[in-house]
Amino acid sequence: MSLRSDNVPALRIGPSNGWVSLKLHDLWEYRELLYFLAWRDIKVRYKQTVLGAAWAIIQPFFSMVVFSLFFGQLAKIPSDGVPYPIFSYTALVPWTFFANALNQASNSLVSDANLIRKVYFPRLVVPLAAVLSGIVDFVLAFLVLLGMMLYYGVSPTINLVWLPLFLVLALVTSLGVGLWLSAMNVEYRDFRYTVPFLTQLWLFATPIAYPSSLLPEPWRTLYGLNPMVGVVEGFRWALLGTATAPGPMTSVSVLIALALLVGGAFYFRRMEKTFADII
């Protein structure tokens, strides 16, 4: 008669206070939902667009063209000994991933408000899916980068094996910042207007149009406080073999990125219980 034996543990639903655990186990249980939400985001993003997934390439590619023209040709900004177009594009690929991830993640909870109000699932899934869905765009833009390397005759070094780690660092940074922004955006919709502004400022605070080698030590290490510095210079080192091998600067970036992620996750979990009421 009974569907379950009597020793089912009871789930207790009560008020929680202050900081709560991340419940990563719960997140793991819902991994299929994570997959479906990311898949939905990818599928829907380029429906009803004429150029479709080409947008994933257009964005960084045209930035590269503009940068090469103004910073490379006119301002003659140094580019660590590689052709300027490939120098900037190598940075723009992870940067575009980061900027889009921030944008998607910060709006993710609000645009899935209906889900939040009507269904239970670990809320972390939503910004996580938004960030992960950007990987497809990243891969497309990365293929163009490989093409450019062939064109310019830049052959990758053995450093290439470290590239996945820098991609992970980009993911961690995006997710860390994305968690903060998405949770704050639920309560204060001001953040919707802040994000484009923030990414614009951040773009120039990151060595995309210029090399970080312009900065002398110890400033260069301090520069690593912007975790995207570590990502961008890591990409260049791994792919183009520039002299920006991971050092103190990268370590600072890694630490900051981890701090952002862990802090963001706890902050998110703390704010989570009010999402359904105020979204």
């Binding site: 008669m1 009974s2 569907l3 009871a10 009560g14 829907v44 939040i116 009507k118 239970y120 359904a276």
Partner: protein
């Protein structure tokens, strides 16, 4: 205790109206609050929501000290007026929001349907949406794959399964949505009002499916305004009122207590406190009454006599064109008719502030026998904006006597039908051949 599926202990939920949620305050929040709230207030004042701006820190208890135990396999209905806390209770039990005080204990896998089609995306096809929606409701991919054909067949959308959802009719959309939900396989199922969708035939299919679920030994919590469905499906009913558990017992007892609450009659309801009345800044509902010709308030109406339904409301802002309307449902939940104000004196004319009474007369010999539930609403016209709608505001019984002058005539058995109009009958007679010959011969003899 192993056979308890759900236990509520002093479950309470407080909401800050127009304000924030946290019972605690931190420096950051206080700081942010003092920075943001002047702007928020200014914006609200500019939009004419002065009332809200003032009541920024007002709180209400959506749920208050609710205690009860629900055994495994019980099918429990939850009823109450709008704002009684029904949805809040389901939201807490499905872990969407946290209680402010007290706790709930749940044993078993919960499936909750506070809405059908949550997360449906118009750009995706029916097939893709089934997988997405299933995952959102907590189904595993393998499970969805296994039930896929069954879901499609239940929804009757086989031909359109690879068409994007935006090309679906609203009926197909709802059928697909319910089909996914109906194939959830939880030990505890919570349903909020989802049966108020689709055509009558599909509603019946959904109700039957619910009944199946109940008979499989699953625990079901069912929130609805559909009293007949509640009585049919649920053995036990809980009545909530202003967040408190008012009554808990056998279905028919609690339902009739609910329908008789207030004045000891279902035929009149009043909202003496304007702050709690349905409505907004433009107009507020004050009362709904059912009267017979002699202007008696009554909840029993002779099928042959006309009956007046009146709505008393207060207009708080002049200059709007208003359209009061009534919606009438029978005990099967069938929408019998909808009546919008046609009074030539006030049609298309703005109404000034003050108290108004709009009355509609339902002629005799129209309604069928049984209970009629009346919902009352008010809309401003041009643009159409809902000011309020109160479902099941009043109810009355239509009785058909055996006097012989109603549509029943001399028939005393069960009569179905949604309406029972008194129609004109005509009879023509053509004699059969044999009799005609006999008659003819009679005539000749004469």
């Amino acid at each position: 205790m192993g056979d308890i599926a759900i236990r509520l202990e002093d479950l309470s939920k407080q909401y800050y109206i127009g304000g924030k949620q946290e019972p605690y305050k931190t420096l950051r929040e206080t700081l942010a609050n003092s920075l943001v709230s002047p702007f928020r207030r200014a914006a609200e004042l500019m939009r004419g929501q002065a009332r809200r701006a003032v009541a920024l820190n007002e709180t209400i208890w959506a749920l208050r000290d609710v205690c009860c135990e629900i055994k495994r396999g019980e099918v429990v209905g939850i009823i109450g007026r709008n704002g009684a806390g029904k949805s809040t209770l389901l939201k807490i039990l499905s872990r969407i929001t946290e209680p402010t005080r007290g706790y709930a204990e749940i044993r078993g896998r919960v499936g909750s349907l506070l809405e059908v089609g949550t997360g449906f995306h118009p750009e995706l096809t029916g097939r893709e949406n089934i997988y997405l929606n299933g995952a959102i409701l907590g189904m595993k991919q393998a499970e969805i794959k296994r039930k896929f054909d069954e879901i499609v067949a239940f929804a009757e959308v086989e031909r359109f399964i690879d068409t994007p959802l935006k090309h679906y009719s609203s009926g197909m959309y709802l059928r697909l949505a319910f089909a996914v939900a109906a194939h959830l396989d939880p030990e505890i199922l919570m349903v909020d009002e989802v049966l108020a969708v689709g055509d009558a035939r599909f509603q019946k299919k959904c109700l039957d499916k619910m009944q199946d679920v109940g008979q499989q030994g699953r625990t079901v919590l069912f929130v609805s305004h559909n009293m007949p469905a509640i009585t049919r499906l649920c053995g036990r009913v809980i009545l909530l009122d202003e967040g408190r558990l008012l009554k808990d017992g056998p279905a028919h007892q609690v339902v009739s207590a609910y329908l008789n609450s207030g004045f000891g009659t279902t035929a009149a309801r009043e909202w003496p406190n304007p702050a709690k009345a349905p409505g907004g800044e433009v107009a507020r509902l004050r009362a709904i009454r059912v009267r017979t010709e002699g202007s008696w308030i009554t909840d029993v109406v002779d099928i042959r006599r006309p009956v007046d339904i009146e709505m008393e409301y207060e207009v708080l802002q002049s200059g709007y064109m208003l359209m009061p309307h009534f919606q009438s449902y029978n005990e099967e939940g069938v929408h019998v008719f909808s009546a919008h104000d046609l009074d030539p004196a006030w049609r298309q004319r703005p109404r000034s502030r003050g108290c108004w009474v709009s009355t509609v007369r339902i002629p005799g010999n129209l309604l069928s026998e049984g209970t009629m539930f009346i919902g009352a609403g008010l809309e401003t016209v041009d643009p159409v904006i809902h000011q309020f709608y109160e479902p099941d505001a009043v109810a009355f019984q239509v009785v058909d006597s055996l006097d012989g002058d109603s549509a029943r005539g001399d028939y005393a058995g069960h009569m179905g039908g949604v309406v029972r109009p008194l129609l004109q009958w005509n009879t023509r007679f053509s004699p059969s051949k044999g009799e005609a010959a006999a008659m003819l011969s009679e005539k000749v003899q004469l």
